[in-house]
């Protein structure tokens, strides 16, 4: 049973670390500010989520588990807010996103 917990918890930690790393790679490889935000999003959501889930598995059912869950909740509430604040201030100050084709924005009716 202990082994199972370690395998699942360790696996989650490993996958979380991998996604955090991929987010970092994206941050470097992607071409401009707006696309880099998407790369950083991987680290924020799945990277942090999997790492914290792995830690929850390792902690077992205790107060630590609940605290980890709340950390995840607060992280997922604050990170899109911070991301939007960054992206919006970039837009407001006139940084133009590099788009695939033309500057025209598609929209729903």
């Amino acid at each position: 049973m202990d082994l199972l917990v370690d395998v699942v918890g360790g696996g989650l930690l490993l996958f979380g670390a991998a996604f955090a790393l991929i987010g970092g790679i994206g941050l470097i490889r992607l071409p401009d500010f707006y696309t880099r935000i998407h790369g950083a999003g991987i680290t924020d959501t799945l990277g942090a989520g999997l790492i914290l889930s792995g830690l929850m598995f390792e902690a077992g059912v205790s107060i630590v588990t609940i605290k980890l869950l709340l950390i995840l909740l607060f992280l997922w509430l604050t990170s899109p807010t911070a991301t939007h604040a960054l992206a919006n201030s970039a837009l407001e100050t006139g940084l133009k996103p590099r788009l695939a084709d033309g500057e025209e924005a598609a929209s729903t009716p």
Partner: protein
């Protein structure tokens, strides 16, 4: 009144979880600080549907698991693009209309878009949301409007 009670429960609950010490002294400090926060919040008139959205708790139970699954799928898509040797991105800007009646619903919708990798809300004006998408596929996901419908379905509260 129910928002006041809901906020009080949330505040004291957070205090107890954070401290997890059950001595009379610490519990009374916690209670006192929660009451002070509550009084300040009431004086600032922020204890309402928006400041303490307890009506949303039951419906979030159905929305959040769906959102988590969408986030996981989008993460794998973006990770694949980032690791791809040629990195096949096609960034674009799209505009969508949010059909939620209230600001709180629009905030949940816009934040859900941002939280999903591959799409970021970069501007909101009234019910018009401007989204930067990393690929055509990510843009189509937002344009399909499923997330918008699900957030609207969170009920009249949103």
């Amino acid at each position: 009144m129910k928002y006041l009670i809901g906020l009080m429960i949330a505040l004291t609950g957070t205090w107890v979880l954070w401290s997890w010490h059950f001595t009379t002294a610490l519990l009374s400090y916690g209670l006192a600080s929660c009451v002070v926060v509550l009084l300040i919040a009431r004086r600032m008139r922020v204890v309402d549907r928006e400041g303490a959205p307890i009506d949303l708790l039951p419906v979030l139970v159905t929305y959040l698991p769906w959102l988590f699954w969408e986030i996981a799928k989008a993460n794998v898509d973006v990770a694949r693009i980032v690791l791809h040797p040629r990195m096949p991105i096609s960034p674009r800007l799209i505009e969508v209309r949010a059909t939620q009646k209230h600001d709180l619903g629009r905030v949940i919708y816009a934040n859900s878009i941002t939280l999903t990798p591959g799409t970021v809300t970069i501007d909101t004006e009234g019910d018009l949301i401007t989204v930067h998408a990393l690929t055509q596929g990510a843009a189509d996901g937002v344009l399909s409007g499923e997330m918008d419908r699900r957030v609207s379905r969170l009920g009249s509260q949103s």
